[in-house]
Amino acid sequence: MRFFGFGRRRGSAPVARERLQILLEYERSPFSHSDLFTVLQEEILAVINRHVTVDADKVQVKVDRGDTVSRLAVDVEIPNAPSGAMSLRLHEEFFGAVAR
């Protein structure tokens, strides 16, 4: 948990405030109304599928929205690699440029 160094203030309200600020900034942005994740997922999968066939169930898209940038992780499990499944991980940072 982060606190802002106001002496010994230890209430939970500052945490609530910070969480809401990050969330609402995102929800007010055009991103929250776009299908960005859906589009990214489809396009990334299409690229990978040109080379290997992947099961759509084995794709995990994860996001962690921060206050200045958000982190997107696309985790694709690819079968038939020499030693079991290979995991391909793509990280992308986005939002930053546009949201700020």
Binding site: R19, T38, S70
Partner: protein, 280 residues
């Protein structure tokens, strides 16, 4: 999903509902879901409040929502992609509601498929109903095996609970099959002192009026607000608090344990200063 237990013989679908808003449905869904998951059973909590989701906030997962219930219903995302695993309890998952889509995107058939799929993966499926008696609320209860009716000891809440009980007995798949819907009353925000002074309906009053079995009484507790500020169910953030203990007892009763009905009291003073505040 890998370590999801396959021996999930019986899966139970619960709806947490109330009619009235603001009585503690979402808080209770998060608290009960976490309490059950802490025993090692697999639990998914689903937010049915399309357009006004809040369960993600109560679970502290609001930054991690990618896909939601409507994406799954519409086939845009697979169920495993929309499920968010809790960072603290690994058997606890969240299926968020959509914040931006039209709530009419939820169809009865779509919800039926998602619930059937979740039954295969989880021992407990807990549906957090939106307030009201409209489509969202009836869809949340539609495929439930049992209902938790959350009520405050206050006239409008009790009246709305009665209305919801009527809907549970008429509009659910179970009721339509001629089966009896299992119902549990969870009284929240109970203030012992005000009830003693006769300023608040007593537990007995509420039970007599609604005549459904009591699952638990959650005392009014400042720790509940604190847990919601921090984005942690009270049963994770402060299981030793009065509300935390009351939810844990209620969760044990849900699982079929015989637990004596008591209304826990917050231990004042040093205990809370050391314990209640530690998690921040």
């Amino acid at each position: 999903m890998k370590q999801m237990r396959k021996e999930t013989q019986m899966s139970k679908v619960l709806v947490v509902t109330s009619g009235k808003g603001g009585v503690g449905k979402t808080t209770s869904t998060a608290a009960l879901g976490a309490a059950i998951a802490q025993t090692g059973q697999t639990v998914v909590v689903i937010d049915f409040d399309v357009g006004l989701r809040n369960l993600d906030l109560m679970m502290g997962a609001e930054r991690r929502v990618v896909f939601d219930l409507i994406h799954v219903v519409q086939g845009i995302a697979r169920l495993p992609q929309a499920l968010i695993r809790d960072k603290r309890i690994e058997t606890l998952f969240l299926l968020p509601a959509s914040q931006t889509r039209d709530k009419d995107a939820l169809t009865e058939e779509g919800v039926a498929l998602v619930i059937a799929d979740l039954r295969k993966k989880f021992q407990w499926v807990i549906c957090d109903s939106p307030a009201g008696i409209e489509r969202g609320a009836t869809l949340a209860m539609r495929y439930a095996d049992a209902a938790i009716i959350v009520a405050n000891p206050e006239v409008s809440s009790v009246r709305d609970s009665d209305r919801i009980i009527g809907l549970l007995d008429a509009k659910t798949a179970k009721a339509e099959r001629g089966e009896r819907m299992e119902k549990h009353l969870l009284i929240t925000r109970y203030d012992r002192a005000r009830a003693a002074r006769g300023e608040m309906l007593s537990i007995e009053d509420v039970l007599e009026i609604l005549s459904i079995p009591l699952l638990g009484v959650i005392p009014e507790s400042e720790m509940v607000l604190r847990a919601s500020n921090l984005g942690a169910p009270i049963t994770i953030n402060n299981p030793a608090s009065a509300a935390g203990r009351a939810y844990i007892d209620a969760a044990r009763r849900l699982a079929g344990e015989q637990v004596e009905m008591t209304i826990p009291v917050d231990k004042s003073g040093l205990f809370n200063k050391l314990f209640g505040r530690r998690a921040a």
